[in-house]
Symmetry: C2
Subunit: 408 residues, 2 copies
């Protein structure tokens, strides 16, 4: 909190002990000034009394990090928190959660790693999973706007959070990890309303019997029939993914790439093998790696060397240049809905220049372009160029076309 | 070549020009001493004459990097190379290839990035794909024994290479990228003979119609019915994967982990959500995330804290310790065939200690153990421990259980 620039902080504890520059007080009511946010991490047995104190002091929101409630069999303790929240109107996040963060306000009342700022909001029923995503965000090139770990959701739940984030100007896409929902109907209504305005990427775990058994033991909540979730999420416009990696891939696409208006995908590559591998996913993904029109073929022939393939995938060969990528992408994007720009760099070529050609074409056309620069040390110069100019990079082409297909 | 410690090298070219400390000669026959290996990168029109010169000098093996043969419509040029190879007995790799390397000999007659030494051999019909894998190997934690890019295979082909690598003591597992094979029957016989001795991981691209069309344009070779490849590879004991990432994952498993003797998989985690997500893959993968026996449960209860789950996934909770991982893994591996050790680290905990506990259990039991340490900066201390002790780490648990399932 201090590192975020907040100064008006109080350490509330029975002995009124301060921490570093933060003054200590024995109760929230003792602060004597309006309090915007209470973060509660006191032992489970004390949480109810602390919440009562917050309510008496007029606190509007309390984040209860403390565990040891329904997930540990302490249903009565949790019911009491719920009762206080309902009675006082104080909004409670948690208990048994990892906290919240808001990169726009520099607000980090959580123990988790601070991610880079950006346009993806993350809502996670699992604190650990949320924490892992935050810790991984920098490396994955995903910027975060807001994070809420809502744990046992005695009060604030996925429905409230979706309604809030639909209106949040900093949030372009929401990633949601759920193991169960409180009220199926209400949840689906909230998802439907949300996805009319912004994309929603959902991981719903507990697909298999052993996963459901594990969910039950982990959160005490029953996961419900997986197929029903699958159908309902699809109907309501959410995109369900299976892994955190797919979630990163897709959120990077939605946060950075313009809408994908159709399923005709061009693959522009400098290397046959990886181009074929990306094209191979067309049937599985329901995309059309269609051949170019005669007019486009003629156009490409006017500037590409004779050895380049005037077919989709468009293979510029190992001699592909910055100019070759730029002009080819600009040309193909006149008749394709989106493009994957694929590059296998050779150790002696400047990958940054090729990345610039790709970014220039994306800017010039305003069409969705994603990149795959392979691999390792040969492409380290390209990656900062792509990042600075907002073109998502995927380690393999198959992941790039998967994102375009799911966005379409 | 020089950097690899080789000193007895000659630069063969019409003007007999040397390069740095390497003396120049006008012809291989002019060297006047036995030559072990010729690497040919002269223009396509000169390759036949250079090969004749090599043959006359008694060279045993020539790697022809030069492109511009059948893949560019120059079938006659390629036939001539084939004729010279057949007539002289010189073994030819290529043409149109990225070269070879042998980390055991420090032999790198290739322009590709040098990978770390290890026990995976890579055979690639696509030079670019091979180069990308080599450039990525360090980051992916995969060590390479041999690499052969065989391009248009006028002579040495996948069948020869599999026979050679079956006997190679440095090679534990082979990764093979093919777009087509020269002779289906002979290839399948070679695969069958190989997989009786070592595991073979295959990427066969050209699955879809657009992929097959692209393969044809790229290598001039027809890919053939994909379903037939699928069935034949399975029958012959090869493991087919779709992406380079899956190939890395599986090769890391085979290179480092003891054989997986059955399909009962234990998941030991410190975090419910990611544990559930890994367990969720059981039905898809055909593994059994079975519950522990009463005896094992009793054993676990004797040393684990009361809040830990005595079920599979075994959740040590956020309080999981080095000792907790070690003792739990040792106990569960008495009745499971393999284990995934999953850890979502919190920023203030020492991930290296937890990694040591996991490695100790793998050593003590001799059973297959793979790890997933999530994520980013919170686990940077664990990764070198796992690497040094030969436990493969997968970014997400789903990839770890997929490897165990495919090895079983």
């Amino acid at each position: 909190m201090l590192a975020g620039g907040f100064r008006d902080i109080y350490a509330v504890n029975p002995k009124a002990q301060g921490v570093d520059e933060i003054p200590g007080v024995a109760a929230v009511t003792g602060i004597g000034r309006p309090v915007d946010l209470a973060v509660i991490a006191s032992p489970a047995a004390t949480v109810a009394a602390v919440l009562e104190d917050c309510a008496a002091a007029g606190v509007k929101v309390a984040v209860v990090i403390t565990a040891g409630f329904s997930e540990a069999g302490n249903v009565a303790g949790e019911e009491e928190i719920k009762r206080i929240a309902r009675g006082s109107g104080i909004r409670v996040v948690g208990p048994n959660c990892a906290g919240i963060l808001n990169t726009g306000y520099n607000l980090y009342p959580t123990l988790e790693v601070r991610p880079p700022a950006g346009h993806t909001a993350l809502i996670s029923q699992s604190g650990a999973l949320g924490g892992a995503v935050l810790a991984w965000a920098e490396e994955q090139g995903l910027g975060i706007s807001k994070f809420v770990s809502y744990g046992n959701r005695v009060d604030v739940d996925e429905v409230d959070l979706l309604a809030y984030l639909a209106d949040d100007p900093d949030t372009v896409v929401v990633a949601l990890y759920i193991e169960s929902v409180r009220d199926g109907r209400e949840f689906m209504r909230a998802v439907h309303a949300f996805t009319r305005r912004k994309p929603l990427v959902v991981i719903k775990s507990g697909r298999s019997r052993s996963g459901q058994r594990a969910t039950l033991s982990h959160t005490g909540s029953l996961a419900g029939a997986d197929a029903a979730y699958d159908a309902a999420l699809r109907q309501c416009g959410a995109i369900r993914v299976d892994t955190v990696e797919e979630m990163f891939d897709l959120c990077k696409g939605f946060a950075h790439v313009p809408p994908v208006r159709g399923r005709r995908i061009a693959i522009v590559t400098n290397s046959g093998g990886p181009g074929v591998m990306a094209a191979d996913w067309d049937e599985k993904l329901g995309i059309d790696v269609a051949e170019p029109s005669p007019a486009l073929r003629e156009k490409l022939a006017s500037f590409l060397p004779a050895h380049c393939a005037l077919r989709n995938p468009f293979d510029l060969t190992v001699e592909g240049t910055e100019d070759g990528y730029r002009r080819t992408l600009e040309a193909v994007l006149t008749e394709y809905d989106a493009a994957l720009a694929l590059n296998v760099n050779t150790p002696y070529l400047d990958s940054a220049a090729l990345a610039r050609g790709i970014c220039d074409a994306a800017d010039a056309t305003g069409k969705p372009v994603v990149a795959t620069f392979m691999a390792g040390s040969t492409v380290v110069d390209a990656l900062p160029v792509l990042k600075a100019r907002g073109i998502p990079n995927y380690a393999i082409g198959e992941r790039g076309v998967t994102v375009l297909a799911r966005m379409a």
